[in-house]
Structures are given as structure tokens and as C-alpha cells.
Amino acid sequence: MLPILQSELVNRRGWLTGSELMDFFAMAQCQPGPLAVNCAVLIGASRFGTVAGIFAALGMAFPSLLFILAIAILLQNFIHIPQVAQAMAGIKTAVAALVISVAVRLFKDGVKGFIAFIFFIVSLVLLVFNILNPILIILLAAGFGIIVGLIKRKKERKA
């Protein structure tokens, strides 16, 4: 997505500089919600105001609506064709592999140190065995993240 933002918004329209784009992109990655929508609102609203930000978000969502509705309707009519079902089975397998690779990347980037590993394992187990729903897991992770951070700071001050 970043290359398209760069070529359309920075090079063609000149709405912002490359380094501003990188700042917005980094910020959008840490916010809840789809990254693309966050980027659209941040850029649209800071350059042209609130209404523009909302329009930018709707613009980001609109192609998805068209594509997915078209495919959903097509799929309903063609899923009984053996080749279509086989292709879907192959895609499902590829998607499983893709999600594994995302999990591996998130593990490499985000799980550093023993405490982080505990966070990783506990959320994994809680979800696999359906012990807590994802929202509670996320809230607890954020809460315990703050608690661990505060304890660390106290220790550092004492030392």
C-alpha cells in the first residue's frame, strides 16, 4: 500500500511530503482499525479538514464493497462447479500458510524477552482453548503491559 500512497499522494498530487507520509503511516499502524482507513483519515483530515477525512475513509472502503459483493454473488452461483470448489480449497490452504507467516513475523518483531514470551503464550492458549474472548485478551494484555511497565520503572528508579 505504501508505494501507491507515495506515487499518488506525494508525487502526483503533492498533498504531503514523503517524510510526512512515513510519519502518518507509522502512526496509523499503532491505531485500532484498518491501517488503510487510518492513513486515509489522518492524511485527509490534517490536509483538508474533518469532512475530507471522512470522505477519504469512505473512498478507501468503497472498492472493497464493490469487489466483495460481486465475488460473493458470483461464488454463490459457481461454487458447485468442481474446479471452483477445488480452487477455493487450494486458496484456503495458501491463506493458512500466509497467516502462519504473519504469525511468525509478528513473533520475531514483537516477542522480545521472557515477559513478552509469557504474553504471547498466555494469549495463544486463552484463545485456542476458548477460555476468554479476544476483546478481553486484548484489554488484559494492554493492562498488564502497563502494570509490567510501571514495575520496571520503579525498579529502575531504585537501582
Binding site: 487510518n38 486458496i91 490452504t93 498488564f144
Partner: protein, 182 residues
């Protein structure tokens, strides 16, 4: 009533899912909570959403909304999903421009990052099970489809090692599925 439930659920997803595939655990949760769609139907929806241009979360919301309550459902799900994102982004632009430098935000993220990795790892187990056994719950009684299993074992190291455009692997998956008659 379904519209209202769709709105509430996707608003929650929009608010709590941080980053790319983070919406997946929440969508799987809907299978358990409602009878909107089954695990195998969700697997098809995920496959399509991943192979279509556009943000994954919006694609899957559109599909799930459509599957649950038709075109109106798709619209409700999209709006609900992007509403938190729009609100928070506008707040950031107007007042919280330096929120990322806040020490509490940084601490929260030190817990959120590994937890998200754990959630996605848990979901990849469900997706493996759906691709290979056709059900999202692992069970010793499930029958295993050999061809997808072999394909998965061969493909996964490649996907991890070559961080290419996902669409390449999706296309490959469709091709292999047809040629080897999955």
C-alpha cells in the same frame, strides 16, 4: 435486530483489532456466538477477502455482513468497522497528535504486541484445521485431507522465507487446487 447486532459486533472489531489480520480472532468469535455463518463458510470468506484488493478487514466485514443480512448487512458492517477508526484518527489529528510518545501508550503496546502475535498464532491453528480437516475445531475424529496437508507443508516455508505479495501465493493455491483436484 440483526443489523443492530452486526453494527455492535463490527464496531467492537473496528475498535479492538490493531493491525493487518488482527480482525481474524474476532471474526472467528462470531462463529461461536451467532448462527450467522459456519466455520467452513468463514474459511471461504477469508480466502476471498485475502485474494481481493483492498484492506483485509474491510473485505471480510463486507463479506460477513452480506452473508448475514444481504447488501444492507454489508453496508452496516463496513460503516461500523470504520467508525472507530475515523473517530480516533480525527481525534488524533485535532488534539492527540503526540499520543504515540505517551509512556502509558508505549507500555500498553509492550503487552499488546506479543498478545497480538499469540492471537494470530492461535488463528493460524484454526485455519490449518479448516484447510486440512474442514472444521475449525481440532478433533481426533476429524478426517484429514492429504493433498492440502502436503501442499501446506511444502508452501509454508516458502511463504515465510520469501515475503512476496500474498496474491502470488493465493494464485498458486488456486492453481494447485485445480490441478491436483483438492
Amino acid at each position: 435486530m440483526t443489523y443492530l447486532l452486526l453494527f455492535i459486533e463490527f464496531f467492537k472489531i473496528g475498535f479492538f483489532a490493531i493491525g493487518g489480520l488482527a480482525s481474524l480472532p474476532f471474526i472467528f468469535d462470531l462463529v461461536e456466538k451467532y448462527d450467522w455463518f459456519t466455520g467452513p463458510e468463514l474459511a471461504n470468506m477469508i480466502a476471498v477477502s485475502q485474494s481481493t484488493p483492498g484492506p483485509f478487514a474491510i473485505n471480510i466485514a463486507t463479506f460477513a455482513g452480506y452473508e448475514t443480512a444481504g447488501i444492507g448487512g454489508a453496508l452496516v458492517a463496513i460503516i461500523a468497522l470504520i467508525l472507530p477508526s475515523i473517530t480516533i484518527s480525527l481525534l488524533i489529528v485535532k488534539v492527540l497528535i503526540n499520543w504515540r510518545n505517551n509512556k502509558f501508550v508505549e507500555m500498553a503496546f509492550s503487552g499488546l504486541r506479543p498478545a497480538t502475535a499469540g492471537l494470530i498464532a492461535a488463528i493460524s491453528i484454526s485455519l490449518i484445521s479448516l484447510a486440512v480437516c474442514g472444521t475449525e475445531q481440532l478433533s481426533i475424529h476429524a478426517s484429514i485431507a492429504i493433498k492440502p496437508l502436503i501442499f501446506l507443508l511444502v508452501l509454508t516455508p516458502f511463504v515465510i522465507y520469501f515475503q512476496k505479495n500474498p496474491l502470488i501465493f493465493v494464485g498458486l493455491g488456486a492453481l494447485v487446487g485445480i490441478i491436483f483436484q483438492f
